[in-house]
Amino acid sequence: MLDTKSNERRLTVARAMAESIAQEMRVDDRVFVMGEDIGDLGGVFGNTRGLVEEFGKDRIRDTPISETAFISAAVGAAMDGMRPVVELMFVDFFGVCFDAIYNLMAKNIYFSGGQSSVPMVLMTSTGGGYSDAGQHSQCLYGSFAHLPGMKVVSPSNAYDAKGLMTAAMRDDSPVIYMYHKGLQGMGWLGTEPGANVNTPESDYTVEIGKAKVLREGTDVTLVGLAMGVHNALKAADNLAEQGVSAEVIDLVSLVPLDRETVINSVAKTGRLIVVDEDYNSYGVSGEIITTVCEHDISKLKAAPKRVTYPDVPIPFARNMEQFCLPNADKIVAAYKDM
């Protein structure tokens, strides 16, 4: 995936997302996009750039700052045969519209006993690291993954970004598509170069619900998603220099969760470190560790560990925020402490 050959078609995640949406819109009239500043501006994070120029304002709809209205409108449209892609600009804003998400979008298939499908994608940006403080830097992966009825994915690179978006748009169930700002490839946000990878021009899907082993190893399993994957890969490089062989798993999808890939890896390595930029407690890290432990503790050679964001709001000051964020050094240190 994170291939580096020179004759490649490397895209940023932002461009990969926009390309996927555009390709699907060309072949499927039912797909349209709604959100704040996704039209002329092309999305604050660039993932709808170029769409309004190609598809016009009817299919690429800038909305009022009314997340409850337009997300629940997407549900109504999806149940009526459309396939909306909506954007919640920052995941941090989920609190103003979570009823429309978790209690409406995620449950109407069930409440209708399967009479209706709700084919929609809710894309939303996650993550900090650029000093945007406590209401614009959260990940909240666990908050979405905890509640039933919605699939939850998060790509770590452009290839997956495109394939997951296409898969999400073709899914008849609602998909939360969480993209990390630090991987978008927007210069003004800084960016992780490892996220810009070879991305085929033609359309393709990446399976929702399947984790990927990005690097094989024998001594420890590092599990993460989105930015966590890059931290894990860097830690794995670092550990390799020290003669430690780390396996790196990109979860790709939190719901459905590919428990098997994690379990199989830890069965081999005997050690587990979960990397998660979301808050530490009651979230992703606990679920991954529990997945392994409830399956078979005899396979573990050491207590599993987590490198996560502590249970505090996200501070503005760079030094304080960086102190809290997971990084490769912390992963290496966690391994050494095992």
Binding site: A69, A77, M79, A100, N103, L104
Partner: protein, 329 residues
Amino acid sequence: MSPTKEQQLWMYENMVVSRRFEESIEKIYMEGKSPAFNMANGPIPGEMHLSNGQEPVAVGVCAHLTKDDIVTATHRPHHQAIAKGVDLKKMAAEIFGKVTGLSGGRGGHMHIFDSNVNFACSGIIAQGCGPACGAALSRKMQNKPGVAVAFLGEGAVNQGAFHEAMNLAAVWKLPVVFVVEDNAWGISVSKADSTAVPRNDVRAAAYGMPGHFIENNDPYAIFEIAGQAIERARAGEGPTLIEIETFRLAGHFMGDAEGYRPEGEKDALFEKDPIPSMRERLLADGVSDAAGLDKIEADALARVEEAIQFARDSEYAPDEDALTSVFAA
């Protein structure tokens, strides 16, 4: 715009079906719940919100809708569902939690869904406003006919979701009608204690859309105003807000002792029960004779009894069905 004779009889019939249906549900709901009233017991467990007295709203509005139009309903949905043409047998079975129910027992009385007639429902206040806009947008974008009606209570108007949807509907000129059932109460809180204005129709101006208030639960006036609004929506002229004074003849939900209601209030409402008064008017206007109306009533009762019997006779779903239909098939 006045209802034709046929429409008047359709309205009356559906009001009666709704009333008989709820009377029946009311009785069955109490089975297994005495001497001790425990909501968890009996053939119909859980909360039960009856709409007795609010039938004129449902029929006055839905008389203008076809099965292709969309309705998003509230936690008090039976009259709305019946008027929209939801399958009565399957709805009864759903309320009983049976496998033959609309949703195989997953939804229950607050989650009545019938995709054949584009009917959806929610237990969350004002949650249906946004989806109604979305369905309306869908029709507009697909160039398909269809109007969406979002029902909500007068208490629900103070929820943010209402405001956002009203604005969206107006900005995008969507074919939606917002119908507020003003039964004067949001559970135990009166309209005056919850709402800054005596009539919510004035709130339409905040969105540049027409607003109407209809007094006294009058099915004819409702028919007329709703008809105009729906015609307007169909003509592409955008949304309308209608608030309708109606009567909550029962408690908020069954088991509600209603100690908060001023003495005599309910008696006065029963005096104005819209069903007998519509019957009188139909007779006075010569729309039907007594025998004709008796037959409608008898047929209504028979339909209800058949539906209830169907529900009673049906099986419960296998337990494991709880785990299915989370995602689309």
